[in-house]
């Protein structure tokens, strides 16, 4: 098998070869090119979509600069969250403390923008120089009359997971402070959808059609007031389980709101999520409307999906994503397209996650925790997938190796959630996997005709298709009348 760092061997499995549980939940090995980030990054991504709050990064400029509007977490109203606010700590503050500067910054910002609430993110350095961020927040909160909430997101506290927890704690400070009297009997919260490319809007529409009231989407297209009253919902649907389970548990503990883990990626999982909510409410109308909706939507997207499946059948996919729940959905969604997952990896999966992942994958699938570019590149060469699903750091690696790519992370530009999203996903996968550009890539060109890789590709009359493709030309849209317009 592929050479890996010795300490990482237990974090990689091949289904069918070992039954021992995959080792995960481990700190990254120092000196590896880990794709993981830090606690600050975790907190920032979870709270960022709350659009009418002020997000102030207390630290040197970098922490604020690198996550300035890099996630397409859309807001239907205020766009305040997309700005970058930082205390830009300098050497003097590092020596004498940054509390004064933080207080002044918060004052100036609150006066100028009049936000609904403010989140103050601590960075590594704040944790080390010992600023009492909580005290400053309390004081500004009193003076300005808005909630100013500290987020304990010092980077060194851990991986993104640690940051998720800190973010949940911070968001929870708002929960329970709003009036819930106008919320109807069938109210739910959707946790862990961040409205990337407008996905929360899609999902919200489904529930509303079924007669279920979405009290709060947390945090996609998020609002401070929605958080305040979200304890008035009867059920929490938790999508990105890694980031939001903690908040759901707090709501369960203090407000007796049950939670269900769901996913809105793929037809199966979207339908299951909708039924999960519909069945929870003892209302035949809701269930009936959900059935109508699911049947209609599936009927709408299925014929086109089948056409893509005919083309993609037998192709291989590799995925390396942040959280495990997304990986489950993707494996299933790829199956629906006739594709086989040959590599499934996550940055932050838990032992249970990996057990489940192993269950749904085919024999031979490599399952990996906290991988790195060298490993990923080696996996690609060995497993020879047609598609890689990952995020910003994986894209250029896949392209360099001549493999199609689909961004299923925060840089995706089209909604991939819901029934419609599955169709978008299929279109994107199809477009990338079948792109004529791969025929110009030496490795792929050789694969198509079984030549050694050194032979230069001959693009003309030399379509790149895998054996078993049935000799279809690389560009088949026209031939099969697949409607790829939006």
């Amino acid at each position: 098998m592929i050479n890996v760092l010795e300490q990482r061997r237990a974090q990689i499995h091949r289904k069918g070869e070992s039954t021992a549980p995959l080792v995960c939940d481990r700190k990254s090995v120092a000196g590896s090119v880990t794709q993981r980030a830090c606690a600050f990054c975790g907190s920032r991504v979870v709270l960022y979509p709350i659009a009418d709050a002020l997000h102030v990064v207390h630290g040197p400029i970098g922490c604020a600069a690198y996550n300035w509007d890099i996630r397409g977490a859309l807001s239907s109203g205020p766009q305040l969250h997309r700005n970058s606010f930082s205390t830009d700590l300098q050497e003097l503050e590092v020596i004498y403390g940054g509390e004064k500067k933080l207080k002044q910054s918060l004052g100036e910002l609150i006066d100028h923008y009049r936000p609904k609430a403010a989140f103050v993110y601590s960075t590594c350095i704040v944790g080390v120089i010992g600023d009492d961020v909580e005290a400053v927040c309390r004081q500004v909160s009193r003076e300005k009359g808005i909630d100013v909430i500290p987020v304990a997101s010092e980077g060194f506290r851990g991986t993104k997971k640690t940051g998720y927890q800190a973010a949940c704690e911070a968001a929870y400070k708002l929960v329970g402070t709003g009036d819930t009297s106008s919320i109807g009997p069938c109210g739910i919260n959707i946790l862990g959808d961040f409205n990337i490319a407008g996905e929360s809007w899609l999902i919200r529409r489904y529930f509303e059609e079924a007669g279920i009231e979405v009290v709060a989407t947390i945090t996609g297209d998020g609002r401070v007031d929605d958080l305040r009253r979200c304890h008035g919902a009867k059920l929490n649907l938790v999508q990105c389980s890694g980031s939001m389970t903690h908040l759901a548990k707090l709501l369960e503990r203090d407000h007796a709101i049950p939670m269900r883990r769901v996913s809105f990626f793929g037809i199966e999982d979207t339908a299951a999520a909708l039924y999960e909510a519909a069945k929870f409410f003892d209302d035949p109308g809701v269930l009936e409307r959900t059935q109508v909706l699911v049947n209609r939507e599936v009927g709408r997207v299925y014929p086109e999906l089948k056409r893509y499946r005919a083309i993609l059948e037998g192709k291989k996919a590799a995925l390396y994503v942040g959280g495990a729940f997304k990986a489950f959905s993707l494996v299933k969604a790829l199956k629906l397209l006739g594709m086989k997952t040959v590599l499934a990896g996550t940055q932050t999966g838990s032992p249970e996650d990996y057990a489940l992942l192993r269950e749904i994958c085919d024999d031979g699938t490599v399952i990996v925790d906290d991988s790195n570019p060298v490993e990923l590149a080696k996996f690609i060469l060995e497993l020879d997938p047609d598609l890689f699903i990952g995020g910003v750091k994986e894209r250029p690696i896949a392209y360099k190796l001549g493999v199609g790519f689909c961004d299923h992370n925060h840089e995706r530009k089209i909604p991939l959630a819901g029934f419609e999203g599955m169709l978008h996903f299929a279109r994107e996968v199809h477009a990338s996997v079948m792109s004529p550009v791969w025929q110009f890539v030496p490795r792929r060109a050789a694969r198509a005709v079984g030549q050694p890789t050194r032979t230069p590709p001959t693009p003309v009359n030399h379509p790149a298709h895998a054996p078993g493709d049935g000799g279809r030309p690389a560009s088949i849209d026209g031939a099969l009348h697949v409607n790829s317009e939006d």
Binding site: T34, A37, V56, G59, V94, F156
Partner: protein
């Protein structure tokens, strides 16, 4: 998103809104990629490294390799020695670089980690593979900017690797500054065409602009080799481009290896490229070849052809000092009117330098170092400009101001691709800048002018 920006300038004492800079480590990481077979290493929490790699990948659309000490709470209390030792052991064990270039982060700076001591211990414990090199730069995020980090790492290359053998070589040192690979390539081409023998470091061409070959190369073929950087100590002179990014390394070569240096601006625009070409010609004792004379003539031809669309245009410029200064010089050469000139990097010299270039005609211009884009936008609202030039983040302002013509220039550019392959330095780069500016201005006219003024020929 910027609808809360008011024309009335709000006095701020503390905070930074929409910065025009970022922190030192990313510059150090980028510089280190300009050494052949070098693995940059971030000594701090792993988020820093992930952020830098992601941001550089967005700019270059290339894989960016770097490792991290993966600090935890324990390391931030007890120091990062064991993290560093483990990291170096793993790095040499699995990734086998020729050089590991360590930069610090705010965290390891504040807890006072002593990197040279850590290196010494690693070496004394016999863990450093034969021939492998360790270098480091202190890059506290709370001082300077990404440009400072680049400068510090470049200086570290000279400090650790350059050596004086006593025999002066017939070669010039070129320190190119914080340039994109395409620009570094163009600097080399110009020097080569003039016939100079030189070593250049850092050099990220063929590292971050690699062709698609169907392979993933952990260490692409580009980058200055250790042997080249070592030989820089024997060169007869150093030419540094860009005071902020390159002077520290040039000085280091002078004090360590007694190589005399001169500094020049990045060759952006006519005058700055003239100065660069002249310096190379003079230092290398060569004459300027006809090829380069022709390029210069073409640039002047284009400047005169397009002057009617450019002259007297009010421009707002922001970016890194080394880029902005020669760009302002070029705008003045084009008879344009830089009205606001901003850098996020601190340094009074920037303001003085730009003021001098603007002369009495630019007395009303606002010139500010250590400033942010919120202020720039406020000024632009109070008194508008015709054109905005800066990195990707300028697009918010351009949009908020009614799709103001906007030319992307500098670092980072996250949403367009031209910078990856087409230089903005040299005479040809200046031509590209003219094309970009006139495109932006004329596209706006074509889009917005009344039907009767819509013209076929411009």
């Amino acid at each position: 998103m910027l609808n809360a920006t008011t024309a009335e300038h709000t006095e701020r004492k503390a905070l930074r809104i929409n910065p025009a800079k970022t922190c030192q480590p990313i510059g150090a990481l980028y510089a280190a990629l300009g050494i052949h077979k070098c693995l940059p290493h971030s000594h701090g929490s792993q988020g820093c490294c992930a952020y830098h790699r992601s941001q550089l990948t967005r700019h270059f659309k290339e894989p960016v390799m770097a490792t991290t000490s993966s600090f935890t709470e324990g390391a931030s209390v007890f120091g990062g020695l064991s993290n560093m030792t483990q990291a170096l052991t793993n790095i040499f064990g699995i990734y086998q670089p020729d050089v590991v270039a360590v930069h610090t982060t705010c965290l390891s700076e504040v807890i006072g980690d002593d990197i040279p001591m850590m290196f010494k211990k690693f070496r004394e414990d016999g863990k450093l593979p034969e021939g492998a090199q360790l270098i480091h730069a202190n890059t506290p995020s709370f001082k300077g900017s990404h440009v400072t980090g680049f400068a510090n790492m470049t200086a570290a290359m000279a400090r650790y690797l350059s050596e004086r053998s006593g025999e002066v070589r017939d070669q010039l040192n070129l320190i190119p500054g914080y340039l994109d690979p395409a620009d570094m390539r163009e600097v080399k081409r110009l020097a080569t065409e003039i016939g100079a023998r030189f070593v250049m470091f850092p050099d990220t061409s063929d590292v971050l602009d690699t062709p698609q070959v169907g392979r993933f190369e952990m260490y692409p073929k580009g980058g200055a080799t250790v042997a080249q950087i070592r030989s820089a100590g024997d060169s007869f002179a150093t030419l540094g481009l860009g005071f902020w990014a390159s002077e520290a390394a040039a000085k280091e070569l002078e004090s360590k290896c007694e190589v005399p240096y001169e500094m020049g601006e990045l060759p952006i625009g006519l005058g700055a490229t003239d100065a660069f070409v002249d310096a190379i010609r003079r230092l290398a004792a060569k004459s300027v070849p006809a090829n380069i004379e022709r390029e210069r003539g073409q640039l002047i031809d284009l400047m005169s052809d397009m002057s009617q669309y450019l002259h007297r245009k009010r421009v707002a410029v922001f970016g890194d000092p080394d880029h902005v200064i020669p760009l302002v010089r070029f705008l003045v050469e084009l008879d344009m009117r830089p009205a606001y000139v901003v850098t996020g990097t601190p340094g009074k010299a920037f303001e003085e330098n730009v003021r001098q270039l603007l002369g009495p005609a630019g007395a009303d211009a606002k010139v500010k170092a250590y400033e942010d884009l919120f202020s720039l936008h406020q000024w632009m609202k109070a008194e508008p400009v015709d054109l905005l030039i800066g990195n990707t983040y300028g697009k918010y302002i351009a949009r908020a101001e009614g799709n103001l013509p906007f030319v992307r220039f500098g670092f980072p550019i996250l949403d367009r691709v031209a910078h990856r392959y087409f230089p903005t330095v040299g005479y040809r780069g200046a031509m590209r800048l003219i094309a970009a500016m006139t495109d932006a201005l004329l596209d706006q006219k074509d889009r917005e002018c009344p039907e009767e003024f819509f013209e076929l020929v411009q």
